[in-house]
Symmetry: C3
Subunit: 340 residues, 3 copies
């Protein structure tokens, strides 16, 4: 059971209501009126909870589970011997995620501006928005409906947020046009100056950074990321792209839609990333590199040449995965070892 101090629960819901919401068929004999109150893992679930069985290697855990009901696929359902009521779906992981959101919907906002917040009179605050203590909202900021600005977050002059956005505690946003349903977590910096300099007689001179950060809809940016504004032109993040913690995005980077950008990745200036690109943790992408849609970059790789559409690469310098793996094997052979 999730910790009620931190997680507000909705429900309980009957098995039939859950089945309806996640698009499941019930297994034979499952009682449609069975009431369930939360989701949990197979090994920790209690009789009042729903769990998930999505991989045959967890069959023993599934059969041993005390869960009240289990979300699974038609194929895996045939393996289950425990008699637990099953919620049979096409994609158990997606359906289980839906169940999670059913029991744990986004907590309702408490609309209003905390008296300890500082909101410039020229700012437009969308209906139903919640502005927490210590938040600072500058002149001409525009928030869509139902935005949540966390404690001590700072939105500088003219920042625009669409509907249903949330900005976490202690984050700092400037020079940004942000779409709807964007969630930015804590200690994130958006819109800072890009790292562009020219040599001058007195040392490096910062080139004026005159672009913006333009973020699409449904983007989520986790803790302590830094996304710079463009120099001339914008830094652009497409719809549905997701950032893990401590990611560095330099000026004028363009990232397409639905990319997965794992923790501690750094993408240097003016790199262009397509749609549906997946990158592992600690990857580095050199400046002006193009990574095609659907490409995958293995964790810790350093990409210094363009990656074509759909190609998977790894290593530093990054090569197509097969070459990278052969390099690894060859280097082991050099010292008389075999790769396991």
């Amino acid at each position: 059971l999730s910790d009620a101090r931190f997680f507000r629960r909705s429900g309980p819901y009957s098995l039939s209501i859950i089945a309806g919401r996640i698009g499941a068929a019930l297994s034979d004999g499952a009682a449609p009126g069975l009431m369930l109150g939360d989701i949990a893992a197979l090994d920790t679930a209690e009789p009042g909870e729903v769990s998930m069985f999505s991989d045959a290697k967890h069959l023993d855990a599934c059969n041993a589970s005390r869960a009240g009901a289990i979300v699974t696929s038609r194929k895996l359902a045939g393996l289950v011997e425990s008699g637990t009521p099953l919620l049979i779906v096409g994609d158990p992981r997606f359906a289980f995620a839906l169940a999670g959101h059913m029991f744990h919907p986004r907590p309702p906002l408490v609309p209003g501006i905390h008296k300890g917040a500082h909101v410039d009179p020229s700012a437009v605050i969308g209906e139903g928005s919640q502005i927490d203590a210590g938040a600072v909202i500058g002149p001409d900021v525009k928030l869509g409906a139902r935005c949540h600005i966390g404690p001590n977050a700072v939105l500088a002059q003219s920042v625009v947020l669409g509907e249903d956005c949330s900005i976490g505690a202690n984050s700092s946003i400037s020079h940004a046009l942000i779409g709807a349903r964007v969630r930015i977590s804590t200690n994130v910096s958006i819109g800072g100056p890009g790292y562009g300099f020219v040599p001058s007689p007195t040392g490096a001179l910062r080139v004026s950074q005159l672009g913006r950060v333009v973020i699409g809809d449904n983007v989520e940016i986790d803790q302590n990321c830094a996304i710079d504004r463009g120099a001339m032109g914008d830094t652009v993040i497409g719809d549905g792209t997701m950032f893990d913690n401590l990611v560095h995005i330099a000026h004028n980077v363009q990232i397409g839609k639905h990319c997965m950008i794992a923790g501690q990745i750094g993408i240097a200036g003016s790199a262009v990333i397509g749609d549906f690109v997946m990158m592992g943790g600690q990857v580095g992408i050199a400046d002006h590199i193009k990574v095609g849609s659907g490409a995958r970059v293995a964790a810790k790789s350093g990409v210094i040449k363009d990656v074509p559409i759909g190609v998977s690469v790894g290593g530093y310098p990054a090569y197509p995965t097969r070459i990278w793996h052969r390099q690894t094997i060859a280097l082991l052979r050099l010292i008389g070892k075999k790769a396991e």
Copy 2:
């Protein structure tokens, strides 16, 4: 001498009192009543300060030092020709660290809640705690005795801190149960959502992140780290584990006791790290990997296979240190070079 603007000094103390507190024997002829006021390095110490001689390669610096007294070992003491009073101990580095804490104890708190802080009436603030300006403490937060919440730090709903904890300026803590004597520095994010998604018809859908961050006693977390809460189940940090700056800890990671996690390390989801593990800077640990107790991971390594208890590894993919070094040497030989 440390800069008195920033560092409050206790003392001065006599040589005999210092010897008592750090468990030292005095060298022959050392005046027990000699008064000393601070610690310093061999080359910068003044006559009123204590220094340390812990490595024979610094013998010249030791003999040339103007320090009023020097902490050293029995063995090294025999090498010293300067006649400086010696504080002879079994472990000079530990004893010198104790001397440092003697001259520079933690500054006393100024108990109370700054009028510019925002503390929810339902929060329980332990006796003797200090809450600084701009700090935001949410409903049902519980602080043990003598906690220090720095300026503009944010503790979200129901966070629990044990006794004698400190949270640095601009840090953001949520969904966390934290032990005693835990020190969290500035711009740290604890308890943010883990990076867990499932594919859905409209793009990646965040899986509800319903776990917590559970931190033991005596943990220290340095600047700008990000530690995510669990998805189902908790992210767990054991007693006495120490984090350097800009570390990324993903959801459901379990780290044992007394580990040393250097700067910019990233540990991916559900990895399990034993006790007394040491990792160098910029290491990456892949998801679900197990690193056994007492293992060591060289800086910048990428660990994608389990590391047995007590084994040292390096490289990417990481191999036992000896193999890694042989790879480095073999690669140099390939181009006709010798490793130095």
Copy 3:
């Protein structure tokens, strides 16, 4: 045209005034009275804007550009066929940067202390300084003239800033002596404790971190960086050194003048970096390493041996660039591939 919501423009200025300010000669037939209002890239510039042509490979874009005037070199000027008025200079990139600063000077401060800021009465605030909402300024802090302390930034006890410094939103500065014209961006931590421990019977014991961070003039530190104070002695950053996002600088590091420290670099304790050193993103420098003046370190390299003055290195462990490249080529040959 830069987005006027975010970027205040000065001007417009006549071509002759611009030429005077950036040290340019006008091309034949250029109308000295032509009025121009901003800078822009060749492909997006409008007739009222100045652009730059600094590389022959952009000749087509230059000839097609709608820009009202173009900054270029004498040599490149001979290639231009579009008849656009040219501003001919020795170094187009530097001159164009000057033009950018001409149209976009630093916005004037709004001197004064926001009523939502918390300034200790013992702090000295230089004339013309601007202290924003939620900023917290501790006892005995000293700010030079015309400093800007952003919203929710925290300056702890006794921090000293020279003239014309700016500290971004949500940054935390302690134990620091900072020169003039230093710009620190958002969510930056300066002066936190270094990661120094000794083993003790009860686990690792933090060694008292009794040094400071000493930063020269004209240093710029971008988003989410963390720079630790010294243990004994100081962490020192020389004049004109520039830090990109998410950089980690450990205790007692010394960095010289005019270095370029790219994103996500980590420099371990007591490393000594000379002047004019350039490092690419995600580089790691091991503790106590010396990197000579003028050295260059390729992105993602791990430096574990000293780098002599003026040498370029790459790889992990880092070797001189030529060796590193030969290793890369040799490893490809091992598997029957040629480097492209």
